[in-house]
């Protein structure tokens, strides 16, 4: 089950149209444009609802993505690097989002810091190929993961707040 706020967030992210993966040349460029449009809209939505929580960018080919996500807990900001590859079978299979610096710190991860998704992620993704994109994976996968795992990791003392010189 997806909670009401995730459902609302998801429905405000524009749906994608082009079913194309990184091997599809021109169609992939079209898909990438759609990915960026959806991501920009999602980040803008987040900012306007005072819930800005990640930035992403990709290599020129759109096959490797990287960026930052952050989580506010007791008024302190905890920031993590994100990275993932677009699998050759995308968008049939979702990207495997990873937070490498947390690798080995929680059991809710696979090798390389790939986050462990809830049971409903894959069915929901499969039902919405090719309309779901990276923005949806962030909203449905990483967002809820951070909300559950980060407070728990802070509580256990596994992660500590780092003072950042630049904000």
């Amino acid at each position: 089950m997806v909670d009401e706020s995730t459902r609302k967030t998801l429905s405000s992210i524009p749906l994608l149209q082009t079913k194309a993966g990184p091997r599809d040349k021109d169609l992939w460029v079209q898909r990438l444009k759609e990915e960026y449009q959806a991501l920009i809209k999602y980040v803008q939505n987040n900012k306007s609802s005072d819930n800005d929580w990640f930035r992403l960018e990709s290599n020129k080919e759109g096959t490797k993505w990287f960026g930052k996500c952050w989580y506010i807990h007791n008024l302190l900001k905890y920031e993590f690097e994100i990275e993932f590859d677009i699998p050759v079978t995308y968008p049939t299979t979702a990207p495997e989002l990873a937070l490498p610096e947390l690798d080995g710190k929680t059991a809710k991860m696979y090798r390389g810091g790939k986050i462990c998704l809830t049971d409903h992620f894959k069915p929901l993704w499969a039902r919405n190929v090719p309309k779901f994109g990276i923005a949806h994976a962030m909203a449905l996968g990483l967002g809820p993961w951070l909300a559950v795992e980060i407070p728990d990791l802070i509580e256990k003392g596994v992660i500590a707040h780092k003072e950042k010189s630049a904000e």
Partner: protein
């Protein structure tokens, strides 16, 4: 580093060297031809006895065969060991993981191998068990674009004669890698076995996929063996997956048994064989390809198979009736335009006794009411990338 630490390290190094030299001295010479002579120095006598007993016609054929194993974890490593002991001609191993102490609840790998790459550690052990087997290793993740091309190239040129491998065995633990193998094998028209153990460790399966002839991995949502556990009582808090050496060993045994039966032509090869460990129930079935499969190569292989003379069609229609995926399957609801939208859909459909789809996917979806991205015109990709950076 303190003196004691230095000494400890020295002892560890020497232990390692000792172990390696012991392995070397115990290793046997290569054997040019399999003999059926029953002497205690012949590692193949009990295997060649299968021929004497009339179970297998020409067991020696195994020396000419090449098998690719993708994923050398709990199932893949045991699979590789069994095929090595059986005297397979060549194994091509793919994995990008390292051996960890957390893997020691499984078979094959040993604590002193922790930190080594799985493919290299496996190759060493396998080579010492049977030096007659040629072992080739590839240490990368097949799901990324660059590696995928390398993977395709490797499995189509790595047999002992430089052609495609005789069989691909999927022993991976994730959907993405399975779908990648499926894509490659549909394109190359290679036969492969999918295998898997559930995340709760109490069920597993193998599935024989012949492109165009039996259902491919993209023809339907993944199949799961019903373990008769109430999903509500299954606690997933704090862990991704459990694993048992027993379940993995059983699935590896099923996988290699069917590999041998197919490659050496004895018995009947199972198209789908499930294992429910809670009740010791072993469902089997045949699944026909979905004419509307998402994978265009699957549809192409189906057309090629349909055009074959009937005598060459090993899978008869009568056989395939069980568990057929019909075009008009009403696969639940989905989507995010209605209020019902995001939920688990309706109950997952049972496809054969004890086997069901992991989830359902609708054939037609209605997205009219939700905003979509603009399809054409608009800013260029470069402009969008720049805009994203500036937010």
């Amino acid at each position: 580093m303190s003196e004691i630490e230095k000494l400890r390290q020295r002892i560890k190094d020497l232990e390692q060297q000792l172990l390696e030299s012991q392995c070397k001295s115990a290793a046997r010479e290569k054997i040019a031809q399999m003999s059926s002579e029953v002497v205690d120095s012949n590692p193949y006598s009990r295997l060649m006895a299968l021929k004497r007993m009339g179970i297998v016609n020409n067991y020696e054929k195994i020396r000419e065969l090449s098998v690719a194993i993708v994923g050398v974890g709990g199932v893949g490593s045991v699979t590789a060991e069994m095929l090595t002991r059986c005297g397979i001609g060549k194994l091509i191993l793919f994995d990008y993981d390292k051996v960890e102490l957390a893997n020691m609840n499984r078979l094959f790998f040993q604590p002193h191998q922790a930190g080594q790459s799985k493919v290299e550690a496996a190759a060493k052990t396998l080579q010492s068990i049977n030096p007659d087997v040629e072992i080739e290793t590839h240490n990368y993740n097949i799901t990324t674009v660059d590696n995928f091309y390398n993977f395709i190239d490797t499995i189509s040129t790595s047999s002992l004669l430089g052609g495609p491998v005789d069989l691909v065995l999927s022993c991976v633990d994730n959907f993405e890698a399975r779908m990648t193998i499926n894509t490659a094998c549909n394109e190359l028209n290679l036969k492969w076995f999918e295998s898997g153990v559930s995340e709760n460790a109490v069920s597993g399966h193998i599935q024989f996929i012949i492109p165009g002839e039996s259902a491919c991995f993209a023809c339907a949502p993944p199949l799961v063996v019903a373990a008769n556990i109430d999903e509500k009582t299954l606690k997933r808090d704090g862990v991704c997956a459990a694993s048992l050496p027993t379940t993995m060993g059983i699935v590896a045994g099923f996988l290699v048994q069917n590999t041998l039966k197919y490659l050496l032509g004895f018995g009947t090869t199972s198209y789908y064989l499930g294992y429910n460990a809670m009740q010791d129930f072993f469902p089997t079935m045949i699944l026909r390809p979905n004419p509307n499969c998402d994978d265009s190569y699957c549809r192409q292989r189906q057309a090629e198979y349909a055009a074959k003379p009937k005598v060459e069609q090993t899978l008869s229609v009568a056989d395939a009736d069980e568990g057929a995926i019909h075009e008009d399957n009403e696969w639940g609801i989905s989507l995010i335009d209605e209020t019902e939208s995001i939920n688990e859909g309706n109950a997952t459909s049972e496809i054969s006794t004890g086997i069901k789809l992991a989830y359902t996917v609708p054939q037609v979806v209605n997205t009219e009411s939700q905003e979509q991205v603009t399809k054409s015109d608009g800013p260029s990709l470069e402009e969008l990338m720049a805009q994203m950076k500036q937010i």
